[in-house]
Amino acid sequence: MPDVAEPTVLPTPDISKQDAPKEIREPGYLVICWDDPINTMIYVTHVFQKIFGWTREVAEKRMLEVHNNGKSVLARESMEKAEYYVHQLQMYCLHATMEKADA
């Protein structure tokens, strides 16, 4: 009869929060831009390009999300950075808010 090997107990990997992806570690804040009937599409696209450094194509896509869906999540950032973006967007009179992201 062959020897039965003792089951090897592998060490449980230490999955700490530090190894988790950044989004799980720090859910952060969502920067949201809401649609309105007053700001023109061209203006909103321009502002997105300026603030986020996006190409026109990317900025237009996000602008259309705002226009068609009523809102768009523009960024997920740390609180400080989200505050910075919201401040910038508000100075251009876009309707921007920030809310805590779900983990």
């Binding site: 009937p37 700001n39 023109t40 321009h46 300026k50 237009e60 505050e83 919201v86 401040h87 808010t97």
Partner: protein
């Protein structure tokens, strides 16, 4: 208002205003800021919200001072036909500030008019009051100048 010259390498843009346009420019800039409260609450946290609104008020105060500088800048030019113009040279950063000022006045007036939808430009009351007509004119002029400013820094922006 027309773009007279654009030196992108130096980041300088010169705009020409006719006399009446200069008066409109002064009239609009003197109104800034019209919109002082965000349309939506920025954040659910009362303390964060208060802090953000305070920071915005400070930025608007700084922009108010810059608006004064814009009004004092520029120079009068007279063409061979004795037409008087006002030429204003702006940097790209100043153009962004001016866009913020114009849009604040425009959005602020729209809010004062009761946020008509789709917008006052397309929806004038049948018998508008003098204030409504003035607000409509300012909003229209501001939007047109925003287009001029944006196409100066990015000529393709308004070709959509």
């Amino acid at each position: 208002v027309t773009l007279l010259s654009a030196d992108k390498a130096a980041g300088k843009f010169t705009f020409r205003f006719e006399q009446a346009e200069r008066e409109w420019f002064r009239h609009i800039l003197e109104r800034y800021p019209v919109q002082q409260t965000p349309l939506r609450r920025i954040n659910e946290d009362v303390a964060v919200n208060k802090l953000l609104e305070k920071a915005l008020a400070e930025s608007r105060k700084r922009l108010r001072s810059d608006a004064e500088l814009f009004l004092k800048a520029g120079k009068i030019e007279i063409d061979p036909a004795f037409n008087e113009y006002w030429d204003l040279t702006l940097t790209a950063a100043e153009i962004e500030e001016l866009l913020q000022i114009l849009n604040n006045v425009r959005v602020g007036l729209w809010i004062q008019l009761g946020k008509p939808e789709p917008s006052i430009e397309e929806l004038l009351p049948t018998k508008p009051s003098e204030d409504q007509v003035r607000a409509h004119m300012i909003m229209h002029v501001s939007a047109a100048w925003q287009g001029t400013l944006m196409s100066a820094v990015d000529p393709e922006s308004t070709q959509a």
